[in-house]
Structure formats: structure tokens, C-alpha cells
Symmetry: C2
Subunit: 661 residues, 2 copies
């Protein structure tokens, strides 16, 4: 099939294969960011072919030597995705990377700066350097497994194939100068990253579901007594008269005067965020209105309103504005929209918008983010919240993804891999087995998009483990000092599309030495001699340049694979690595999270006294650029912000947006 | 949609929803067994409704109180399937029960004696007592999770919904007097179970892939030296000139004179079985012929011939007959036909028969069994082999399912659950961590449809752990003594559809006390308070009545949940349980596999001296019926067999087939 690619923006080409289908981006209703227009033009990659095969549209893309693949939705085991197959599906994450996840973004990017996006809500399968075709047989070498020790089960990475199970589709290709550049273009295409309110980057505490207003006040007082700045209290299901399914109405018993509570907390600079899920109780004040706008099936006995209908969103907005926003509520958390097959509506459920159950599942979380964001935008007010499901088209909505798994390694991998999905992810702190477990998890969330203690089912508090209290305070203080640096990283996300927290692969490409020898045969553990190419799923770039290497609970040492260039220890200022080496450091409970800085970078810290401390590394340190605005309104969208440059010697100068690094 | 059910056989109703689609049963080409005509007629269950919804045909079946569900393909974690959702797909088994497995049978059966079979190769999703509809809202009770401790995430088991992603489908319902009766009808409908040759029930040893003819002879001599009767040697990939992909031609270096080798082994009563996979090397003598009959994609560089074309099967038959069967080969093992996404052809691959890659994947293993079975049938010779993928329509083909996982509990669960899928499954012995591990695995395979040591990547031998040699010999001797009993169980599988090895639930229903209280909330491990209803995935019925309770390696005790009735210990003859109780026994390395016998049953053992020992249990023991025929030809299909009855006092009398129990 001959494809007609339309060069919509520099480095971006679109094609439409008829008949027209629902696109993902239509559900967010967000156009590409205007800054995409100013990207450098680049030649269109010429290597894509396309065929209609049965019920599928199949794109086939030859790979260059040493071209490595990323993306394909959120991952919990690996960041790089070569030699894998993913059948994308919106689902809770089971811990297995098979394409089912709560962020099943149909987008793949490569270290050659190439990106491919199927802008569709239909089923997409990704064959990542696995498919071999008969017509390429002359390139493919057969090996005899009995006699050739170089036999391997993984196919050589010659091609990727992407199959969409639909008669029509919209596809978009991105070309950048690097993987990072390609991702930036992709994020701008999806609307550009969101900018959270400043308060959103502080400490969050979500309450036990049974907590009442008095206990919430006590919680705030406890934080004050322990001198830990608390910025947001998240109320879990029990704020409502009914939950699972939900009423969205305040519980008169537990929260008799919500306006008063929220006002009191606001005086202490604490915002309130409300939990909800999309299943509506017959006891809700809007049940009758929503009934005829809901799907064929129930979840936990509740109706499932169809957010794809403007009328549904209007009813919910009106109710939420009157009952929550007017009282001062600052945002929401949407739970269970990713589904868990056994209690969600089935794929064949019918929704009044005409979407199938499966399609609606794919966009429910996006539509929730859309209508909640719109409510706050109408008030010239920023919001920051959480969602259990999303997709790339929601990149400009200020919601963070989370889930209910609790494995430390999975958490860190998701933090690394989300940057390729058009979303940001955060681990939560629910509970801790012991003081060390608590500290390590605390140190992890301190380098996340949201510092979130979620004690919905526990009584967890930051001061519960006195033996690590000092270390906990230290990392929270460091987070506090890094806030302008982090806030600037979010401004970059908004203006340039660069995720504020991301995999080291995004900045440095796939810099590992790959070992092409066969995997080690083991009759019971690796019968196919599967070669798992080395991956880095536990090193993050935080903001402009800081490399964060979280320490897992129970660990006695930490291995770091340094990217190219000279690297310095953040704490001691010493040169640690001259790049591309592997170093292992002993760790104990007193070891803070290892942080490394590339040569000549400057990290700005803002003290409680509002004085800057600039930490510079290497012989010839560069200045650092910082972003500033009012921190809570939408006036920045109308140009009310500024960039300034801090020099290592303390000088400060205002700069133009275009000059900011 | 109004369904028209046609009463094809007693207790069996078929319906056809247009347009016509490929059925599963058309690929096996096997008609229902004639004995199905003699089943008792039963009324049609009236409770099914059906709708076309978007791309789906949806069947909805209300459940009766205490009606429990089984089937939905092979399982590795649980046997009962209430509250689960399965999207059936042919795939290797990852250990997670999500519908992907190498036996994705689209069939569900219940303890009310009801069975539902979607005879289709299209996608089927099973919502097992999970879906709730708005129109049933009056039956469904909402609970507030914050205040009601009886809130549970699992939906009450009111309905099952089965969705087929196709415009047309053939569906079949079965009605039996019990779960067991329903399964028997289903197996007969699929052609009736296979009867293996007697030699197939002895000991099998598969060789290391690099082994040559001389080493194979030595292996046979080693078995003889150690006085362990070896019945089948399976040659793994290295018998071929090329493998992975395969030539199907003998390696001239390793096997210069296969006819001589096979003849020599035959003299020692040892049969030879050949390994292959469906991927063809360009070095194969039939590569040129198969090239144009193959799919669009390669696997390990090999072409994938389309077994759905009669011409392909003809070429393979001709080659195999001339190069293998004429030399005396007794059967085959087909590997890798279940696929592992990362190296299989993709779902969108094109096959010359017109089947999609996904559809072909579903039937490839069935078609292999079909053509290999046909080759032997044409010689009036029985075969017995292995296949890595299958489906219910292959119930009459003498192939056992296996895979490459190695977890003991998964093995036992699969042995239990396969009886609901129209297939038989066997664990393999690949390797052992220590003597106890070896013994427990040996004791497990001794109660499997095939006693299979697969040393393809090791040098494992039954005598490698002298400290457990006596125990190993004991269980192999017991297997030997039980052969007539087991062979009779296979005859029952053939004549009545009753699986020779099966879950206790099949014979006794779901006899557990269910606990309907909510699951225990745990913030990190069970945030949804998931209630896992009790399951029995480690107790088998072996043959007519023996309950086998395998002991897992490393276990210090074994808990048994006794079905109703009085139960006796097989070894001591003592009354152990009066039914429906839970007993825990201490075990050590000297404890043989616990075996229990229901009251008044008689277990016949045949000694090396051809003398019967009848072990009777309880005050009023019944006689036992046994089946006999020539053990290796197909003459039994023309009536050349007999049934006889052994009385506890030693009397023996010939009986009619119709009278046999």
C-alpha cells in the first residue's frame, strides 16, 4: 500500500488510512503545542512499508545497525524493549511486561531518533525486532542448534512490525536528532507536558479511608508538631456518603462541614485532593441524571457513566464544581479506571456513545483528566492529581499515574520507562516492613514527580521509624532545596516536551556494550537460551542533569553503569567516573541515595532562607537556567513567566525563553 | 437474538450463528464417537441468551446457587475458575492463568452438569461469574466499602458471559447428570478419548540433543544393566542433519544407519520416538516442495509450512513414512507449535490456506496430530507421542501435552486441570536439584499419562541418586503392576469419554465449604480484599478410583481434603477418613506418594509373574472390570477386545462392553 505522509510539523509526518477511526488524541481534545512549529525540520525517514492483511494494517520498519527500541507503553521489568512482543491493552499491571498496562501507549521510539505513533484506540500489536519474513531470507542465517554454539532463540534485530487490528488508522512518524529529541517532539505533538502548581511538588499524605474531619485536622497538626511541611492531604473513599460505588457527595457523619475543614487546612497551606472511582452509587445525588448515560454493565453494583458523552461530563462538572471546587478542593485522584478484568465491565459492554467496553476502557482515564482539568482551567487555577489509567494524548493534563503493586524494582522501572509513554508515573508509600524499607521508599518518592504517602489502609506517618528520622528529614529537605530546579524541569516539559524525570537511555542512548553470545542453556530455567540484553531500569535523570540511583531495601551494594563523560558525586563533589564504566559501591542504612552530576554542570539549591547555594562540578562549570512564575495560576499560558540564569559565581540575569537551556 | 438449538445427540444441542466460520472440529476431521448416541437423553438447559454486540456474539448464562465452574483451557495455578476472566489465546504458558496457554479450549463446564463449547478458532473471552448488568440491578446489592465489612471486590456469581469476536459462530451445549457426565459427553462429542499402545504406558527416556547412535545403544544397555524396563527412547533434535529449523532428515554423522539402530532397539522391546518442530530448514530434502506452501514469516530462519493444506500434509506424510515409519519409528513429539510471541510468526502472518497467523497458531498442533495419527492408522498400528499445543478437538489423537516450565505445583495443577480441556497433560523430568527433588518428581511422573524422563539438555538417569534408588524402583514397580488398571482407564476414555487421570472435582463436584466472608485487606499484598475461594489443585483421581496426592519436593507435611465417603489408605488398608475432612500427614523422604481408595473398591495389581493381586478396601468390596486387547493394533476399533470382571475372591468372568463399569 502506498502511504501519503503529510509533513504537519518539523520532524512530524502524519498519514491517514481509511476508513476513519477514533483517534486517541480526539479524546483529549488537545492540539499540538505551538512550540512544535519551531523545531528544526528533518528529512522524513523513508523506510516504512505498509500492507492491509486480513483484519490488520501492518507497518514494517527495517532497523539500522545498533538501533535500540523504547516505549510500547509502561513497563515494570525492563526499559529497553528489543526482542519483545506486546499486545497493547488497557489493564491493571500484573508485573509481567506483555503489553497490558495502565498506560498502553501505542508509540515506539528508537535511538536513531525515530518515533512511530498509531493514533488509535483500536488494538495494536508491537513486534519489536522479532518478525522475519521469507522475502528477506537471503539476509537471515540459519544455524543448527545441535552443533552451532552461536544458535540463539532471539531473532536478529532487522525489522519491527506494528499491526493495528482495524480497517483504518491514523499513524504519525517523528524524526529527531536523537532519542531525546524525538520524545520531545512526540510530547509536544500530544500538547506539551503539564506544569503543576508549585504546591503540588511538596509532600502529599493520603488518609485512611475511615478517617473523619477531626482526624484529618489532627493529622495536619501532627505534621506541624513534627515540623514536616505538608502540602496536600488526599481524602480517600470515606469522604463520601457511599463509596465502591461512589456518591461523590460528602459523608454527613464524617465530614459535616467540608468548607470549614478545607478552609482551615488552606490557612496552613495544605490543599485537599479527593479520591473517586468512575462507578456511581444509586445513593448519589446525580445517580438519576447519569443512569441513562451509562453503560450496559455494573461495577461493584454501580453504574458506569460514559465520559465520552459531553452531557455526562457536564453533569459531573456541575456537581463537582458546586460540591468540591466551590469549597476549595484542589484536585482529584481517579482510581480503578484501568480495570482489573475480574471486576471491570467486559470488553463487549455497550456504552451510549457507541464505544465498545474495550475502547471505553482505553480512554476513560483520559476523559476524566480532561473534564477535571477543564474545571480548574475555567477558574484560572492549576490542579495536580492522580489517575490510575492514561495514554499519551493526556501529556498536558496534570495527573500522575500510579498503581497498587508494591515491588521496589517495579516502581523504579516504571519511573524510568514512563518517559517513553507520554505520561509521568509515581511510586506510593503504603506501608513498610521495617525502618530501612521505609527509608528506601521515602528516598525513592523524594525523587518522583509526586512525594506521596498513601496511608489509605494503614496509619503510616513519616516519623514512625525514629531510627531513620534524620535520614528521612535530610532527603525531604533536599527535595525542598531542589524545588526550583524541579519546577524548571516541568517548565521544560511544558515548553520543550522534555520529561522532568526520565530514563538514562533518553539522554545518553543505549550506551551499554552488548553481548551477542548465546544465553546460557539451563534445562529447567532457560531452555531456549534466551539472551536478555543488558538493560538499565534503575537509574533516572532528575531534572536537567542529576543522575539518581535509588537503593533498594535490603541491599548491601549498589552498581551504577555510568553514561559517557565525566561524572561527579553530588555529595562529595569528587570525580567518580570517566564514563561508560560499571562501579559497585557498598551501601548501608546511612548511605543516602547516590546522586551523580555530569562534568561542568551546576545544581542550584534554594535554602529555607531563600538564599541560593550553587553546587558546581568540574573545572569549567556552566551557569544554570531557572524558570519562575506565580506557581498556581494559568497566567503562564499568556506569557506571564520569566527565565533567569544563575552563574557559578552568583551572578543572576534574566534571559529570553528562546535562550533558556 | 433467538437461538435455534438442534438436539444432535442425547444431552447435546448445537446452534449455528451465521455467517459460517471455521470450527475447531473441522481441523481434526474427527466425527463424534458413536457411543454418544447411547447416552441418556436429558432436557435442554433453557437459560442461555445471546446477542450480537458490535464485533462480538455474546452468550449469557445465569448460574444456579452453588454452581461452580471449570475448564476455560489448561490452568497452572487453579483448577476451579469462578470469578476469573480469560481471553483465550494459543501461547506458551507463562505460569499466569489469564487465558493464554498451549491448550486454550473454548469450553466451560459446571457442577450442575452443564457444558458450553464455542466450536470456533476465533477469539473467545470467558467472563466466569464476573459480569453484572444494569438490567439485573434489582438483584445486586451495593455495599459501602468504608463502613461495611462485608464489601468484597469479587462480584456475586450470578452470571457467566462468553463473548466470541466474530460475526458467526457454532456453539454447542452439553447437559449431563453431573460434571463428570457432562465432560464424558463432551469428550465423546469430540471423538472419544484415544487408546495408547500398551508399550506407551511404560518408561520413556528422551536423549540429550547431541547424542549419537552408539550412545543411544549404550543408554539402552545402561537401563538393562540397572534392570529398569525402558519402553521408549525419544530422540531429541540431534537425530536430524539440521534442527531449529529442522531438516527431518537423519544426521549421517550421528545416525548413519537408523534402520539398524531402531531394529536393534526393537529387539529389546524399546520403541523410538522422534522430536521435531514445524520450522523447516533450507537444507531439508523437502524444503523446495514446502516452500510455496508456507507462511509469510520465518521462525529461526526456517519456513513455516501450512499444515492446513492437504498438499502440505501429503508431502510430510510421504517423507515421514519413507524415512521414519519404514525404519520402525513409533511416533513423534512436536515442539514449539504453541509459540512464544517473541520468536513465533506474528498474528498478522499470512498462510496460503487463507488462515491468519493467529488462527493457524490455534490449529497447527491439532493438524500435526492429525497427520501423524493418520500415518500410523494406515498401517493398523497405534502410536503415542507428544505435542506442545492442542485443543479439545484432538481428544482422539494419541498425543500428550507438555511444556518447558518446571514448577512442581504448576505441573500437578496442570495434571488436574487438563481433564476439563479435552486433552491429557504430563509433567517431564528434566533435571533435579537433589535426591529428594528427583524422587518426588519421579513419583509424580509415575502417576501421569506418560512416565517421561526428558534428558535433552542433561545426563539425567533414574539411578543417579543412589540414596533414593529403592524408592524410585518401588514406584516404577507399582506403575508396572497398575498397568492393566491404567490401560482399562484409557479404554474407558475411549469408550465413555472419562479421562483416565482427572481432578477430584470431576468425580466429587465442588465439595469444599466455601467461605463467603471478605478477603483480608492488606495495603501492599491484597488491596482489593480479593477472596480466593478454596481450590484443590493437587489431588488426582488415577484410573477408576485411586486418589493420588503427590508430595512436593521440600515438603514436611501433606494436607489432603477428603471427598465425601469413607477413604482407605492404599498401603496399610486402614480406614483414614469418613469424608469431607481435612487431614495433614507428616512426610519424610521415605514416605511414598499418598494413595487413598474409596470404600468397597478393589484395585487390581498384575505382578511380574502375571499373577493378579487384588487389594480390596472396606467391608463389602465390589469386583473390578478390566479391558484387554492386543495392545498395539487398531483391531479394537473393529470389536477385537474384551472386558472381564475380577471378583475379590479371585473369580474372573467375561462381560459385555455394555455391562463394564
Amino acid at each position: 500500500m502506498e502511504l501519503t505522509w503529510q509533513n504537519s510539523f518539523p520532524g512530524v509526518w502524519e498519514t491517514f488510512i481509511d476508513p476513519p477511526r477514533h483517534t486517541l488524541t480526539e479524546f483529549s481534545g488537545v492540539p499540538p503545542a505551538t512550540s512544535l512549529r519551531y523545531a528544526s525540520p528533518l528529512p522524513r525517514p523513508e523506510r516504512i512499508s505498509c500492507n492491509k492483511v486480513g483484519h490488520h494494517i501492518v507497518f514494517r520498519i527495517p532497523l539500522l545497525p545498533n538501533e535500540y527500541l523504547f516505549g510500547g507503553g509502561l513497563k515494570f521489568q525492563r526499559v529497553s524493549i528489543d526482542s519483545e512482543v506486546y499486545h497493547l491493552r488497557m489493564d491493571h499491571s500484573s508485573g509481567v511486561d506483555n503489553g497490558c498496562s495502565h498506560v498502553p501507549t501505542p508509540f515506539v521510539a528508537t535511538t536513531a531518533g525515530f518515533g512511530f505513533f498509531c493514533d488509535t484506540i483500536d488494538d495494536v500489536s508491537l513486534y519489536m525486532a522479532t518478525a522475519q519474513r521469507y522475502k528477506d531470507k537471503d539476509r537471515i542465517i540459519e544455524r543448527d542448534r545441535t552443533t552451532d554454539d552461536n544458535w540463539r532463540c532471539n531473532n536478529p534485530p532487522y525489522f519491527m512490525e506494528i499491526a493495528v487490528n482495524a480497517p483504518g488508522v491514523k499513524a504519525v512518524i517523528f524524526q529527531g536528532e536523537s532519542l531525546r529529541d524525538c520524545i520531545c517532539r512526540f510530547n509536544l505533538y500530544c500538547g506539551g507536558g503539564f506544569l503543576p502548581p508549585k504546591w503540588g511538588l511538596g509532600v502529599w499524605h493520603r488518609t485512611n479511608i475511615k478517617m473523619d474531619a477531626r482526624q484529618v485536622q489532627e493529622l495536619a497538626a501532627d505534621y506541624k508538631r513534627h515540623q514536616i511541611a505538608l502540602d496536600v492531604i488526599g481524602l480517600e473513599p470515606g469522604w463520601q456518603s457511599k463509596a465502591y460505588p461512589c456518591s461523590y457527595d460528602w459523608s454527613k457523619e464524617r465530614f459535616p462541614d467540608p468548607a470549614d475543614l478545607i478552609g482551615e487546612l488552606k490557612k496552613q497551606n495544605i490543599r485537599v485532593n479527593l479520591w473517586e472511582n468512575p462507578y456511581v452509587s444509586e445513593h448519589s445525588s446525580i445517580y438519576q441524571e447519569l443512569k441513562r448515560l451509562s453503560g450496559s454493565h455494573l461495577v461493584w453494583g454501580g453504574i458506569v457513566p460514559d465520559y465520552a458523552l459531553p452531557e455526562t461530563r457536564k453533569i459531573l462538572k456541575k456537581h463537582h464544581e458546586k460540591n468540591h471546587l466551590d469549597y476549595g478542593v484542589s484536585g482529584y485522584k481517579l482510581d480503578e479506571s484501568d480495570g482489573y478484568d475480574a471486576w471491570l465491565w467486559p470488553d463487549h459492554a455497550e456504552f451510549p456513545s457507541g464505544l465498545s467496553g474495550k475502547a471505553y476502557r482505553n480512554v476513560c482515564g483520559v476523559l476524566f483528566q480532561r473534564f477535571t482539568t477543564e474545571m480548574f482551567k475555567a477558574r484560572n487555577q492549576r490542579t495536580y492529581g492522580l489517575t490510575r489509567s492514561s495514554n499519551c494524548c493526556a501529556v498536558s493534563f496534570p495527573c500522575i499515574l500510579y498503581n497498587d503493586r508494591y515491588d521496589f524494582h517495579e516502581y523504579v522501572t516504571a519511573l524510568c520507562s514512563c518517559c517513553f509513554t507520554g505520561t509521568l508515573w509515581c511510586p506510593e508509600l503504603h506501608d513498610a516492613k521495617n525502618a530501612e524499607d521505609f527509608l528506601r521508599r521515602m528516598q525513592l518518592i523524594a525523587f518522583s514527580p509526586m512525594v506521596l504517602i498513601n496511608a489509605w489502609a494503614t496509619e503510616l506517618r513519616p516519623w514512625m521509624f525514629p531510627e531513620v528520622e534524620t535520614a528521612v528529614r535530610q532527603v525531604l529537605e533536599l527535595r525542598q532545596q531542589l524545588l526550583p530546579y524541579l519546577y524548571t524541569a516541568f517548565a521544560r516539559y511544558h515548553q520543550k516536551g522534555l520529561p522532568p524525570i526520565r530514563s538514562v537511555f533518553m539522554d545518553y542512548g543505549y550506551y551499554l556494550q552488548t553481548d551477542n553470545s548465546a544465553g546460557k542453556l539451563d534445562a529447567t530455567k532457560n531452555p531456549y537460551q534466551v539472551v536478555n540484553e543488558e538493560d538499565i531500569n534503575d537509574q533516572l535523570i532528575f531534572g536537567d542533569s542529576l543522575m539518581v540511583c535509588p537503593i533498594a531495601p535490603g541491599t548491601k551494594e549498589r552498581t551504577v553503569l555510568f553514561p559517557p563523560g565525566n561524572w561527579y558525586d553530588f555529595y562529595s563533589g569528587q570525580l567518580i567516573s570517566q564514563g561508560k564504566d560499571r562501579q559497585t559501591f557498598p551501601v548501608d542504612i546511612n548511605t543516602p541515595t547516590p546522586l551523580f552530576v555530569p562534568e561542568n554542570k551546576t545544581i542550584p539549591l534554594l535554602g529555607k532562607d531563600k538564599q541560593w547555594t550553587l553546587r558546581s562540578f568540574g573545572p569549567d562549570p556552566e551557569p544554570v537556567d531557572l524558570y519562575e512564575d506565580d506557581g498556581e495560576s494559568d497566567l503562564y499560558l499568556r506569557g506571564q513567566f520569566q527565565w533567569f540564569r544563575l552563574y557559578p559565581d552568583g551572578r543572576r540575569e534574566q534571559i529570553q525563553k528562546e535562550d533558556a537551556q
